[in-house]
Symmetry: C2
Subunit: 155 residues, 2 copies
DNA sequence: CTATTTGCAAATGGTTTGCGTTAGC
DNA sequence: GCTAACGCAAACCATTTGCAAATAG
């Protein structure tokens, strides 16, 4: 009845409301729905994808509102923009440190938790360069589905 | 008289010629110049930037030729496309394994050589996901210049 | 000589913006 | 009620594409 996932989401929602309040961002129906949708999404949807998913519930929501809202959320650190391979930007609300598995074929992105990557020391050359704020490891390759499809094509 | 950098470049040029020959890619003036320019570049220029730099020597070269050529080179593994932060794609001809320092302020990209990152083991979850082909570590933050500028602004 | 590549101009696609209307606070 | 946010349409910018002329092999 009382699961961990839900608790986590409630906590995220509270942070969301607090952040908006502090920053003077109005709590609109659209913004809430976009936040819910991204929180629910297991993939890393693009603005267009989020728009498509929301139109079922909110037929009048416009694509540019989705763009504007995502930009606002990102500016306040509520979500992350992930720019990989593809030309279109994609988003995630996952705020815990993690890395990415990217399929070069179907462009799918999966989160990867790996403490070995998280604890990596920043090399001294980097400190000469400036101030490192975050670390992102990206592993590229072929996901299981694409691998399978390619093998079937050969046979 | 006989420096290492030049040797390296000659070797790269040979690989370039061989690859083109094998793939049936014609050796045009434009392609050579684009290859030279990217080989010479220390930063990670965009297609537009490369075009701008080349126009000094080749006033008639068109932007779409630069785009087409970069795509061709990338398809044959002669160069890498780097898609970071910014919406525009950027390119590098550096083929030795390396990582990136990215300034979130000015969008500059610097190469980082770090064997500790190169030898990282792929975690088992990744092998469940599919076949990992490459590994990229990206460190984001503020470069020295931007750090300095920000501090001056505050003062 | 023939197929590829180029330059031009027009199209495309993701994203942004100006503006009049709507809706939080 | 005042200001921020919305929806619409038009603009924007990086990149791509169709086509006729130029060029490498």
């Amino acid at each position: 009845m009382h699961d961990k996932q839900d608790d986590q989401f409630q906590q995220k929602l509270q942070i969301f409301r607090d952040t908006c309040e502090k920053a003077g961002i109005k709590m609109t129906h659209q913004r809430l729905e976009i936040f819910y949708e991204l929180g629910r999404a297991k993939d890393h949807p693009s603005a267009e994808e989020i728009h498509k998913r929301l139109r079922a519930k909110m037929p009048t929501i416009s694509l540019d509102t989705v763009y504007r809202t995502l930009a606002t959320f990102e500016r306040h650190g509520l979500i992350n923009r992930v720019q990989i391979l593809d030309d279109k930007a994609r988003y995630e609300s996952n705020s815990t440190p993690h890395h990415h598995l990217v399929c070069v074929e179907c462009k799918s992105i999966q989160d990867l938790y790996c403490s070995a990557f998280d604890v990596l020391d920043i090399p001294p050359e980097a400190n000469e360069w400036g101030e490192v704020q975050s670390k992102h490891v990206e592993l590229r390759g072929l996901c299981k589905e694409c691998l399978k499809r390619k093998q079937e094509q050969k046979a």
